[in-house]
Symmetry: D2
Subunit: 328 residues, 4 copies
């Protein structure tokens, strides 16, 4: 673990998110700028175990800052959960003279990095890449801002047809454990109600809200529902529930699905990725390790990975209140 | 119903499609230009029966050419299927001094217009507004081009995440009876296979195609499926089928849904709508009736509504061949 | 001007920015929610002087959250710079029983509000709406985020053609006095160099950078230039300068212009507008005045308008460093 | 040059346009499908002279269908205008066993191909790739549809700010010799007036039209001007002219520039490119040559290159009439 860092590896892991390519580019270019060698690992921990490595220079990452997905691919890897798998991965890194790595991914990926660091004393740095914005230690994860724009643009289109037909739509968005996408996109899309995992408002409240909305003269209604919504009903069941209790409503369902993960990153995510990549490499070269790069109050900050994966993000209760007021 | 036409009504009916507002604008402005009065009917035939009318002048349609949906709303109307309902509608039109109407919609809406014309000798003109492109007598219906762009943009996003994870996606697009959206968007999005109502290629062929695709080294696969696909399986069943027969594939499903109906119309649809509206009004003023405005070889043409609703559009077999070649 | 606030006016002033409509909607809906009357003033201070007022209820702002521009229009108003003009405006407000107003605009608009407050003791609140992000007391002004996305999307398109022809483009973006758009969009678009009003890097540095870029094997180059760039040359002069000093470069120019002010707001700007509107109204109802609503570290905060217009935003020097590293 | 065709080269030439990559992909994949070898030539005729060739297989063109620009680059080439240059090019092709080529470009590129074919009897096929839509023998050139969407989206944004300030904008779009983009995008964007190279309407008519527009109560005006407009004034001069004659107008200018050439192609352009590529390769294999692939009435057709470059496209006078009516 001692010694100067001369070669850094970078890879993406877990679900992909817009901005990952911009982060890869930033890590690679910062290495080039600081005259450190850089190596890409394909397919995350799986590729690490298999030694699926490619050397990178500044030109290897031309024209990717605006591309969705990850050019390094991502994959699940059960083998890395075993001691043997991690040993193989370590041997591959050592054989390739890699002195440290930067992992771009979510908390599952960070957990792997932390164990790896503990077992082998190998320097690791994390960049939070996930659309869910559920990582402690950063106000924004890479991809969250882009996903919000993707969702509101889709709901804007749905609103066109909803209001042409005076319909109610339940729109399911991503977020199995957290409602950040649902809440922000719900406010941004002017949704009448937002159902999130953090809060069970109860189905009666939904009916009341819809009755009030109808009475107030609204021509259409959008209810945004996070995958992991607490009412215990999925969007199709919600549709049936409302149709049976409020037959006046013509209800439709839309599940936005995986398109939320793709697309060209927003300017915000590109800038964030560029800043995070620089900080990740520079921090490793300062001899630090086991940290995650985050952004708080527009400043790049560092959090121990151990805290990032243990802490919990909280839903913004003030924004829930704003959402309620907006549906007046 | 002889005599000069001094007042024309316009309305939208059936499922909405991008470009309907541009067509409304064109009808209204052409009336203003030719110094004919114009009246808008809200909520299609339902509003006609209820006399839900608003006078329109050139300024009433400012800033709507780029808006999705229909500012005049649309609605189903069972009452118009009865003789009594149509009589009420006729009485309302007469009471409002309306001499003719332009209906923007699909074949169901045209059928209503034709019966109305037969029963009351009331001059009617049709503008084909539907994303499905399934109207005989026109190469393009209003909204088809926009819907194709919406679909390929969504699939481009899905492709980002599909290729990051080497996954197979079944993407369901609109088209209960016709596969025009699926085939064109499939070719446009670089889909590996397209499943459409007009053709049952069989599930074996799909498996063969996917095996070949994997062997050829493709990193991801998109299969576009029209709602009314002939294999007899919906996208969720297709996922299960493929997973059980080709376990090598990691399969996901995405149902694009109603966002396909909305959104700002493409330039093509805006121009088409503008041209069609002019022709519809001018044709009525020439004393003609019961015709649909269409576009063939970039020329605006007229087809008897009776033929438009009886004729069938055909899937483009040459394009199916192109699709096959492209998946090499 | 003691006493309870029962009626609040809202208007937009100065250059428009995406998100202004979302802010109007938020002010109007919050008034409705809190059972305070709300009045819209058209065309900013000019409309205030002329009494161009319209009462607003919750339904008046349906379907505007996603619209660019401002439904209340904006206008310059020299008359409001005079004591007589402001007296007329005050009389109009009093005649209409308005107890306070919320102004959405930039620092010029805030200056007007502050003088008005000083002269008549009239309660005023400011919401920072400008794409330039040059208001002290808030990390983000309304419209900045959307403008950044508009700029990077335009430069992405320019990059397509630049790299097809191995060309160099000078792209001028808005920012007469500040380089926030140029710097952020420059990093986001992967620009080779960013020229801003805050910093005169000198023309030699530009030539050096371009030479290095060519030598490093880059196929195309984008230089983003803020309107108020300090080199003393506009983009057309820069083109000539580079062509005469580096004839190897095939140079083109693009001035993005006013499209940067328009377009549907990003989700970020919509949420920000919604939050700011609520805070503005609630703060007035608490009896406070002469404050601007801002956002710092994701919290809504208040700053005295006097400070907001006197303070200066600073360019992010760390981001300039990131920009340099990224062009390796 | 008798004998069976076993190897086909493909390249792009002249100004780039969206859809070129989709056409390259189609040529390459069709070759693979028909078991013909395929070779890419970089940088057009320049690369042909220099032997800048790369063999292509079906996988070489993965994930490019949705990319703007051209992965094969494009370049001007004065050397190819000389007999010596063309001889070098021919020698390079012969040395690489190339039996025929497909050129994707505009009429300048076709002229080169035709001379080359005449001099060496070398089989050539053309695919019309240019945003200008000025090629005889096809209703649509590759990229025209995408460019129209880019222009109307930009003008939609400009309209937001224009109507917020009741301003008049002159928007310059591409089209040095032809007004197809200006006319279609003008109608699509709801422009008040369209100035094109094919028609000199005179400056008085413009003033009349603007006066009428103001009187009719329009809140903003957009005038779309093709680069090669016949009034003899560029947009900046037009601004001055109108400001001096109609001081009531607050006039601004926007030059859309090169962003019109870039961007992800529309579905229409992707499908068109796919169809054209198949036809180009199949036609060469049938032993034909010196033809351009076009689309007329939705059918793929062939035109002798000699006619394609001699014939002239005509402006659609009916659409000019529609444009006039729409500005009522």
């Amino acid at each position: 673990m001692a010694g100067k860092i001369k070669k850094i590896a970078v890879f993406t892991s877990g679900g992909d998110s817009p901005g990952m390519n911009a982060a890869i580019r930033s890590v690679v270019r910062t290495c080039a700028y600081l005259k450190v060698e850089c190596l890409a690992i394909y397919r995350g921990y799986q590729g690490m175990i298999e030694g699926d490595f490619v050397p990178m220079d500044a030109r290897s990452v031309n024209n990717i800052i605006n591309k969705g997905g990850t050019i390094l691919k991502s994959a699940r890897c059960d083998e890395f959960r075993t001691k043997e798998g991690r040993q193989k991965a370590y041997d591959q890194l050592v054989a390739a003279d890699v002195d440290a790595f930067v992992v771009i991914g979510g908390d599952g990926s960070f957990r792997g990095a932390q164990i790896f660091n503990e077992e082998f004393g190998f320097p690791v740095m994390g960049i939070p890449g996930t659309i869910d914005n559920d990582i402690f230690g950063t106000r924004f994860t890479l991809g969250f801002d882009t996903a919000l724009n993707t969702v509101v643009e889709a709901i804007d289109k749905i609103r066109d047809t909803a209001s042409s037909h005076n319909r109610l739509f339940f729109v399911e968005v991503m977020g199995r454990d957290v409602g950040h996408i649902a809440l922000n996109a719900g406010v941004g899309a002017g949704a009448e109600e937002v159902l999130i995992p953090e809060l069970d408002l109860g189905l009666e409240r939904l009916l009341e809200s819809l009755k009030r909305s109808k009475k107030s003269g609204k021509s259409s209604s959008i209810v945004v529902v996070a995958e992991g919504d607490k009412t215990g009903k999925n969007v199709f069941e919600l549709k049936e529930y409302v149709e049976s209790h409020l037959p006046i409503y013509d209800v439709r369902v839309s599940v936005l699905g995986h398109m939320q993960r793709g697309g060209s990153p927003s300017c915000f995510d590109r800038v964030l990725a560029s800043r995070m990549g620089v900080k990740a490499v520079e921090t490793l070269l300062e001899g630090k390790s086991n940290l995650m790069v985050g952004i708080i109050d527009n400043e790049i900050v560092l959090t121990p990975i151990s805290e990032a994966i243990k802490g919990h993000t909280k839903i913004d209760h003030e924004l829930i209140r704003v959402s309620d007021i907006m549906t007046t």
